[in-house]
Point group: C2
Chain length 451, copies 2
Amino acid sequence: MTEHGRDAADSGLFTDLYELSMAEAYVADAIDADAEFEVFFRDLGPQRGYALAGGVETVLGWLERFRLRRDELDYLSSLGYFSDRFLGWLERARFTGDVTAVPEGTAVFPHEPLMRIRAPIAIAQLLETRVLNALHFESLITTKAARIVDAAAGRAVVDFGARRAHGADAAVAAARAAWIGGCVGTSNMVAGQRFGIPVFGTMAHSYIEAFPDELSAFRAFARHYPETTLLVDTYDTLGGVRNVIRLARELGDAFRVQSIRIDSGDLEALSREARRLLDEADLDGVRIIVSGGLDERRIAALMAAEAPIDGFGVGTDLVISRDVPTLDCAYKLVSYDDEPRLKGSTGKATLPGPKQVFRRWDDGRMEADTIAAAGEALAGEPLLRPVMRAGRRLDPPSALESVRARVGEQLAGLPAPLRVPDPGASSYPVAVSERLQAEADRLLAQHRAAS
Amino acid sequence: MTEHGRDAADSGLFTDLYELSMAEAYVADAIDADAEFEVFFRDLGPQRGYALAGGVETVLGWLERFRLRRDELDYLSSLGYFSDRFLGWLERARFTGDVTAVPEGTAVFPHEPLMRIRAPIAIAQLLETRVLNALHFESLITTKAARIVDAAAGRAVVDFGARRAHGADAAVAAARAAWIGGCVGTSNMVAGQRFGIPVFGTMAHSYIEAFPDELSAFRAFARHYPETTLLVDTYDTLGGVRNVIRLARELGDAFRVQSIRIDSGDLEALSREARRLLDEADLDGVRIIVSGGLDERRIAALMAAEAPIDGFGVGTDLVISRDVPTLDCAYKLVSYDDEPRLKGSTGKATLPGPKQVFRRWDDGRMEADTIAAAGEALAGEPLLRPVMRAGRRLDPPSALESVRARVGEQLAGLPAPLRVPDPGASSYPVAVSERLQAEADRLLAQHRAAS
């Protein structure tokens, strides 16, 4: 993935052709006033009661470094599609605009902007693809992680998803999002190195299979890692637990194995049986970790059944947000040259003009939000804050710890019906201010009359 | 994503902690004979009749370059978890083993290995995470693209998914997989540059909205790009079509607009109405492209209804394989020191020993496959071929064109019931050779008796 010396995530060329086509048309016609675009989720669907904003820091870093390299410009030139004038403009293109955003980790609801970007329209247009790509994916996984951690009700959750994420970079970004969302760590070593996230993991079935029998494998592994987790389901789960007990008898006081892991079968029944066998052998200090096809629904069911489980390893469902692998999110023009704009397409109508969201809290609980015009001053916490001005960040990047803490606060403030795996029709109250609604109605009528 | 100077996709540290833990235990105990691991899909589910092997070239390139860098070794040392002896071993670790694989683009079915890797066990174990990550994701999207292209029955399909892929690198890899799978191109400029894939795209709603009215926007855009595609659904789709017709009257012979695009609403009804309006205006040369929430099921329905559609832009569903965003795939130890191994976990039992797949063809159609032991010689095409020996590729990387051609041949050879969007219970006949099944039965009984 590095033939061209820089990865796609950092490239100024990470855009769709139509963004470039539009930019060229704008430049050619000297349509160069400032445009403001907003990113928001259109709808979260019945399986999501909230979304947590992710990717804000990724976008800001990308915007600060935004430029097209020589080889990228040469490629564009080779297409024979763009004028030399536009290629010259692209060579000089930098992001010198303003960004307003909610802090990363903030809970957002449909139609609430999580980011506003203001820049000359040709530049602002070019940014769309990468801005959406980063905000969408990181929000998706941060939200999924928070839901899973919430379902685990205080038990530790570890990200095991590296192998099933959509590529290597997605795995690393997902591990970061998982940690922000409340996981205690990851199995992903690149994420461990890059972000300082705690790393977890002990053994796989293949290790057991490399030995003539399971007990020999346990014996060898515990010699190297006395405080390890032993995987017990390679051949027969309860047989594996009995081998752990045999090892404990062999080692006596030297036995310091901390936990067992069950990765298949009926996790509720097996965890109960395993707990019973361990307790009968006076191994009540040995914890039970489970993994294998887990998501927030299965974890919630195991917790509701009071299965004696102390921790969860979650892979695929976490890193690809399997039940909802995409959220409907948009980057929409809301003003050009300070005049409000909207889109009236069937089912995709938008609210015009730059906006602010005011969130009312009551005793640490979110009560209701109002989406208002950016200039309005309503009661409540204004969620969007200036984060970049003239292409420069106003503050250093947020520490991961502080984003993680914000997620914890947001979750604690959310109405309980939105925190369940399937909130269905439950929704958070989001109003549109009178002034904003009147403006939307006026513009829509005007455009429909003109078309 | 590049703070450490190399992206995750290329890193030798792209692994899970447990792979390193196991490797250390192997190294410490001088368990250093060759192990052979196989990658296969366990089950494709009722929504997939086949999978196309992707990611083979990515894996081979990664294996050739496999090593841990100084900063990665320092990070591992900083964890205080690994011995200096093991860290020294890791510093010298390279891939010097053998790889056998199906050619990229080959159709595979459950339990058929797409790749075998043979190396000293500690090395082979370390590779698991990245090998699965690359083969899984690229197979997933290549397969999805082929299904979508198949449903479009000869109409052009373009990848529009960059914004909704799981990160920037996933978008680029998905664009590559989409092209291999039969798409005519992508909107993704980084993929265009990196792989030489044709790029497509013209305008978004925001361009229209930046003008006082739609006709002015069409007029301006067509001046810059006379042979463009005009997006007609910003305000009202048929109103947009009428504006295209007005523009045609204004421009007379100078009107060279090639197509219109409809991105919302009832695509069947709107395409018919748009076709009628265009034809009545003597614009029967103007094609109709549709986009917006499309997948193979919707495309198949539009084709079945004979909607007058000439091309499809497909985004989200393509690049994340929304209906099936993950396939159950495994990297399993099949032999150690040339002795066959298997895993007996509930629902996850595997076949022992290295394997070959023999595919019988009849008149260009696939008839049936047999999974056999690697040494067997059965009738049919052996799918797995040696691709790396002693850490070196036996052939240069396959050209994208040839992989794309192979996909086309495989699709043409697949039984028709497997090519529909929902094959359900239809499945391709895959047998296990007598010799292999007897060996599996023998080993499973032996392990169950021992545990």
